[in-house]
């Protein structure tokens, strides 16, 4: 479990997150949703320690992560896998080198063991016969899959996904969402996903936190989200014309 208590963050005097308190459950896909610019990515990056927070506490189980020295933070980070919005694959490395990178760096596995693990992870995300390709030779969906394979290479306890299906077509986006949910259940990870995609919310939203203007406005699951009385959340959920018609009963 990851817990965030009273977290605030500002940039150059501008408050981006204000007094956010939330917990993320183990073995569930926890979604942070909100409009672009609402502070989702800053919250995610603050939790993993890429941003220093102004105040507040970030707990990984019973460890107060944001107060740890750099050397001890590294131990927690070795249990974190992260999928970035643009995949963030290393351009100069092939697909298999990207996936083997954390294994080379942090394990004492032999070359054969690393190769086996890389192939297992790539098979798990349905990337076949692409080991020697470079990221520039992959499609957007394949890049995301390889990034997921790299993120799970070290069997992480925590998986963070920043807009995992941005830039993907709806079918590929659903496949990526399903893959993340399967992996979450399979390895009992604490998964936190940033998204503004309502398809993702309705597909995999086991726990949902809605953020608006840097503050937490609502918390629930995909079954509760359509019946919320939170006005900013309703504006967000029913933003497109199809959802508006469905809500008003215009479509039967």
């Amino acid at each position: 479990m990851i817990r965030v208590n009273d977290l605030s963050k500002s940039f150059n005097g501008k408050t981006v997150l204000e007094n956010i308190s939330v917990s993320f459950d183990t073995g569930k896909t926890n979604l942070i949703i909100g409009q672009s610019g609402s502070g989702k990515t800053v919250l995610l990056k603050s939790i993993v320690g890429l941003h220093e927070v102004d105040k507040g506490e970030i707990w990984f189980e019973d460890v107060l992560f944001n107060k740890l020295p750099f050397s001890e933070k590294k131990l927690i980070r070795s249990e974190i896998g992260m999928l970035f919005q643009g995949s963030a694959l290393f351009d100069s490395l092939t697909v298999e080198q990207n996936v083997s990178f954390p294994l080379d760096m942090f394990t004492t596995m032999t070359h054969e063991e690393i190769t086996d693990r890389v192939n297992f992870c790539l098979n798990r995300v349905n990337i076949l016969n692409a080991n020697k390709l470079f990221p520039s030779e992959l499609s957007g969906g394949m890049k995301k899959r390889v990034a997921i394979a790299r993120a799970i290479a070290l069997n992480p306890k925590y998986l963070f996904c920043d807009e995992p299906n941005s830039g993907l077509d709806p079918i590929t986006a659903i496949l990526i969402d399903e893959l993340i949910q399967e992996l979450t259940h399979e390895y009992s990870m604490t998964t936190i996903i940033n998204t503004h995609d309502m398809n993702s919310v309705m597909e995999i939203g086991e726990k949902i936190i809605f953020i608006s203007k840097g503050a937490k406005c609502w918390e629930g699951d995909k079954n509760e989200i359509l019946n919320s009385d939170c006005e900013p959340l309703n504006d967000f959920v029913f933003a497109n014309s199809l959802a508006k018609k469905l809500r008003s009963g215009g479509i039967k």
Binding site: M82, F90, F106
Partner: protein
């Protein structure tokens, strides 16, 4: 002034991170070998070409400016040798490398920053500054002296070919000139300068790339800044080192 001090502080803090203990030396070793090729070996061609023509021009200019019979012809070879060793092989080569290697380093690291590849390294628990910059520093500190020796050799050779081809000096006089009153310390002086310049080029360019914020436009600006600041520092340290080492 405050901005300058802030930047200087950030630069030295980055260096502290760069020189911290590597997570896994074998991975850094492989990365260093890769940088030997990318930053060192791949620069040998341009250094050889430029040195050849610099040596040729120095020889011809010296010849046309010392036509007075009072001056012995072998002085042309001596002038080419000392010019190449003292200044051209180290300083001019460093300025060229600041353009080629410096912009390469700044744009590579800057692109990794804006595409979140550096964040990905940090999330994994890798000291990104050390992993990205230390192998480049080691590679350039070890390889640039080899490039300097190459520049000296090719430059003097270029002078010989140009001088004898143009008929301004005989082969015997030129070879006598490059052997005449040779001071081995000049080579040491040149290599010391090269090591300092290599450090400046790599660390300043990496600093510019590492702290890029924004997109491709900012990466381009960082790359330009890397070349400009490296060049200015090379010229500044050229004066300081010359005073310290030759006075």
């Amino acid at each position: 002034m405050i901005k300058f001090l802030t930047q200087a502080g950030k630069y030295f803090l980055l260096l502290k991170k760069v020189f911290s203990k590597p997570e896994k030396p074998s991975v850094y070793y492989k990365q260093t070998l890769r940088e030997f090729v990318f930053l060192g070996l791949n620069s040998a061609g341009i250094i050889a070409i430029i040195s050849f023509f610099m040596g040729a021009v120095i020889t011809l200019q010296t010849a046309y400016n010392t036509e007075n019979p009072i001056y012995p012809k072998y002085l042309i070879g001596l002038g080419t040798r000392d010019s190449m060793i003292l200044e051209f092989s180290s300083t001019i080569s460093a300025l060229i490398l600041a353009g080629k290697v410096g912009s390469n380093i700044a744009s590579e690291i800057g692109t990794m920053r804006v595409t979140e590849q550096i964040d990905a390294l940090e999330i994994m628990g890798v000291n990104s500054a050390s992993y990205l910059i230390l192998p480049k520093l080691i590679a350039t500190l070890l390889f640039n002296p080899i490039l300097t020796l190459l520049a000296i050799t090719v430059g003097i050779g270029g002078g010989w070919i140009a001088g004898t081809s143009a008929g301004v000096i005989s082969s015997e006089s030129y070879i006598y000139g490059i052997q005449y009153a040779f001071i081995p310390y000049y080579i040491t002086y040149s290599l010391i300068k090269t090591v300092f310049f290599a450090f400046i080029i790599t660390s300043v360019s990496a600093f510019q790339g590492y702290f890029v914020e924004g997109g491709s436009l900012e990466v381009g600006r960082a790359s330009t800044k890397a070349v400009v600041y490296s060049s200015i520092l090379i010229l500044l340290f050229n004066v300081i080192l010359t005073q310290l080492l030759l006075s």
